[in-house]
């Protein structure tokens, strides 16, 4: 659906993205992940035909972005990072302008506006002036304008930035629902968002792609050891005593103290589940075992690892 072929973008002497290539299949929700300033927005701006790449090319639905930009733009719905809207207009009038711009005929315009306001939960504020709306509603207006004319591809640049937690959940749910029939590219620097919503993650740092994987694969790939989180308690013995005992178990690589309430993180070999042995050791030494669980690698860990590796290599 979207093919990005080794695009490079320079702003004067600054190289924003370098030799970036990836493809997005029809119906995928792809997370575009990277720290601030990594080149996410630049890449999205190029895909949406807002600006041309310095080198390389982008094909959307088999159409070249440079050669037939109008046809590409017809297939895209785009929510820019800063959610720019015409603040002096009412929601309805703004959406009417968008519908007219996207070439919807006068008669069906009203119906289309009703449809997107319904989807985005904007029916109540339809006649309010955008400048007077709360941030959450503005975000929805931003999404609504992208949905007008039902484009097959949606591109959202940091769609949940600056929202409160309940709004974030709503917007994520909305994106998930949309993802059932559409191809979506979503940029974010918030990792849980990407792992919850996306089927594929593209990690970009300093203008280069450093990984393209599914969230599950990424975790598996990087999981060279297993971490066990363990909380123990004893009234008489110092914590060091139990750490000593646990270190003697075969397969334990490292033990660190997480806090002063007796929480320990035990790193073990991946080959064997050591939880039974550990719990037995704790009990046999007259300690109380309060909690024991496996600690999953979060995308945060993976991300940090990838980015630091990249920096070490460079």
């Amino acid at each position: 659906m979207i093919e990005v072929e080794s695009i490079t973008k320079r702003y004067g002497s600054l190289v924003a993205i370098k030799d970036v290539s990836f493809t997005v299949e029809k119906g995928e929700i792809v997370g575009f992940l990277g720290p601030n300033g990594a080149g996410k927005t630049t890449t999205l701006k190029i895909i949406t035909c807002y600006m041309p790449p310095t080198e390389g090319k982008v094909m959307v639905d088999g159409i070249d972005c440079l050669e037939n930009s109008l046809a590409v733009r017809k297939r895209l719905g785009y929510l820019p990072e800063s959610v720019p809207l015409y603040k002096e207009m009412t929601v309805k009038r703004f959406l009417n302008f968008v519908a007219e711009s996207k070439g919807i005929e006068g008669k069906s315009r009203g119906k289309e506006i009703d449809r997107v306001t319904e989807t985005c939960g904007l029916s109540k504020v339809k006649n309010r002036i955008i400048g007077h709306l709360s941030k959450g509603y503005r975000q929805r207006v931003g999404i609504a304008q992208a949905l007008i004319n039902d484009p097959p591809i949606l591109i959202f640049d940091e769609p949940t930035i600056g929202l409160d937690p309940s709004q974030i959940i709503e917007i994520r749910q909305l994106i998930k629902d949309l993802g059932e029939e559409k191809t979506i590219i979503l940029s974010s620097h918030i990792l849980p968002e990407v792992s919850q919503v996306c089927q594929k993650v593209i990690i970009i740092n300093k203008g280069k792609i450093i990984a393209t994987e599914t969230p599950a694969n990424l975790t598996a790939q990087l999981q060279k050891s297993t971490r066990i989180v363990l909380q123990v308690k004893s009234d008489s013995q110092p914590i060091e005593a139990i750490i000593d005992k646990l270190s003697n178990i075969q397969g334990v690589k490292n033990i660190t103290r997480e806090d002063h309430n007796g929480t320990l993180i035990v790193e073990t070999d991946q080959s064997k589940d050591l939880r039974p042995t550990i719990s037995r050791t704790v009990i046999e030494n007259n300690w109380d075992l309060i909690e024991i669980k496996l600690h999953d690698f979060s995308l945060e860990d993976i991300f940090l690892e990838l980015v630091t590796k990249e920096e070490e290599a460079a």
Binding site: K9, Y11, G12, A16, T42, K45, T48, C49, Y50, M51, P52, L70, A71, R73, K74, L76, Y78, P80, S82, P84, L85, Y86, K87, E88, M89, R93, F97, V98, E100, S101, K102, G103, Q145
Partner: protein, 256 residues
């Protein structure tokens, strides 16, 4: 040209939704009203004197003594208010990043630009037409030749187009509206006063300066003469600056 209609309608709406339009219209009409009042008063005094002096009576002419100075006065006010109308046209879109929306919708740059240009022109012309009732009233008191009034308004519309095209260019250069207004005003003033230097320029240069000067071409309209050369001048002027603006919009996106 896709994009002309939606952008035109949006711009017209934005103008009428913003206080700038009303303030500009108010100031414009107050000043032009004052100029009209003083021109008519002066004409009034002269016609009283003309009753005693038959020699003078022959020279009394409402076109020459009221219409012509009135249209010239309006052109001066336009020079002042035009940058205030054009300054937001593109600068504001850039400042609020709504340009990112506008240029990712399936609209051509030409359509967007022309939509904005003609919307501003329409708005300015609506303000100018606010002066028409005083002329109609004057027409009931004396014999006015309406063709001359028509030529005057046509000239004003063409002049407004030229002013706006330069203002839109200034607005495309920056995202700061004040800078856009100052640039537009400076450039327009320069095109205005350049005509004054024909007095001390060489004959060839004087002819060129005479042609370039934005206001020289308006004088014939104010007298009620529609000269096709002047019409062509204004159309070329507007087209040229709109074309530059278009190229500028494109290059800005190439550079990012």
């Amino acid at each position: 040209m896709t994009g002309f209609r939606p952008v035109y309608r949006k711009e017209i709406y934005s103008f009428f939704a913003s206080p700038t339009f009303y303030v500009v219209a108010l100031i414009f009409l107050i000043i032009s009203g004052y100029f009209f009042f003083s021109a008519v008063s002066y004409y009034n005094i002269l016609s009283f004197q003309g009753m005693q002096n038959p020699m003078w009576r022959e020279q009394l002419n409402p076109t020459e003594m009221v219409l012509r100075p009135f249209f010239m006065d309006i052109s001066v006010i336009m020079l002042l208010v035009c940058p205030l109308l054009t300054m937001r046209v593109l600068a504001e879109e850039k400042k609020s990043s709504t340009s990112e929306l506008l240029f990712t919708y399936p609209l051509t740059d030409t359509g967007v630009l022309l939509g904005k240009f003609f919307a501003t022109l329409s708005v300015l012309f609506i303000i100018i037409l606010g002066t028409l009732p005083s002329l109609i009233y004057f027409g009931t008191l004396t014999h006015l030749r309406w063709q001359i009034v028509g030529a005057g308004y046509l000239g004003l519309a063409l002049l407004a187009g030229a002013f706006i095209s330069l203002g839109v260019l200034a607005s495309s250069l920056t995202e700061n509206q004040i800078i856009a207004a100052v640039l537009a005003f400076g450039a327009l003033l320069l095109f205005w006063v350049i005509g004054w230097s024909r007095a001390f320029a060489g004959p060839t240069l004087a002819r060129f300066i005479n042609y370039i000067s934005i206001i020289n071409h308006f004088e014939s309209f104010a007298k009620g003469v529609i000269d096709i050369r002047d019409v062509v001048y204004y159309i070329i002027f507007s087209t040229f600056f709109l074309f530059i603006t278009l190229r500028f919009l494109e290059s800005q996106r190439w550079r990012g």
